[in-house]
């Protein structure tokens, strides 16, 4: 197990490369989904207010 983590002495390069890849890819997922939900909420609010206007 220790051998695995040492990456043949290159742990200081291999692990950061994988870590930053995972962090950036995860960041893209979070950012993409957050923006999607935000626009959904805004659009729903506007469409709701418009149907109220036409009913009134």
């Amino acid at each position: 197990m220790a051998e695995f983590f040492s990456m043949g002495g290159y742990a200081a390069y291999v692990w950061p490369a994988f870590l930053i890849s995972i962090v950036v890819l995860a960041g893209l997922v979070i950012n993409t989904l957050a923006n999607y939900r935000k626009q959904q909420t805004i659009l729903a609010a506007i469409e709701n207010s418009q149907t109220e206007d036409t009913e009134a």
């Binding site: 890819l25 893209l28 999607y36 805004i42």
Partner: protein, 229 residues
Amino acid sequence: MTLSGVLLPWLIGAAALLMVVGFIWGLVFAPPDYQQGDTVRIMFVHVPAAWLSLLCYSLIATASVISLIWRHALADVAAKSAAPLGAAFTFLALVTGMLWGQPMWGTFWVWDARLTSFLVLFFIYIGYMALWETIDDPQKAGRAAAILGVVGFINVPIVKFSVDWWNTLHQPASISRLDGPAIHWTILTPLLIMAVAYTVFFFALLFIRMRTEIMKRRVRSLQLAQAAG
């Protein structure tokens, strides 16, 4: 767009599965290289990120041409939605490349043709995204961005062939060669899995971001109609 809606759950599932398989295979089961040792594992996150940077930019350039000729709004939406993803992949290719360069070349960075043209690609992405943000009207912004998108494509063949045209520290292509890949299958297999994983991941996020952008435009036109009425 309806097609993307049907495909989307499958794309998300496939991307997640391939990512997990690819990361574990690359970190655990792939053997260390006889010359590069365990640093060869960096290739599994470096090469797919670099490929996707170029694929994404090619998509932006194609969409830009379609936008300029046929004025199709969906092409603008696709190009705009793809840009942040491409910028992120370019950033990853640069950073993982530096982390690979230090132990193997003895330096994080050299101003050679491949590395410099790739940094230029990153700046083109940033400039392209900034252009979209600076112009308020989506139609005008789309035209300006499309022109930049087409012009910036000049850099893509420069990146691709930089390793053949100039002497660089960076190695030439070892997968897309006429006489077949020059990598043993035990390392090539996880690399290709990661490449497919990154590609599927890219398209899954691209479709979600395009849906977001379409909603954004609908909100804008509803607000304009409200203000006018």
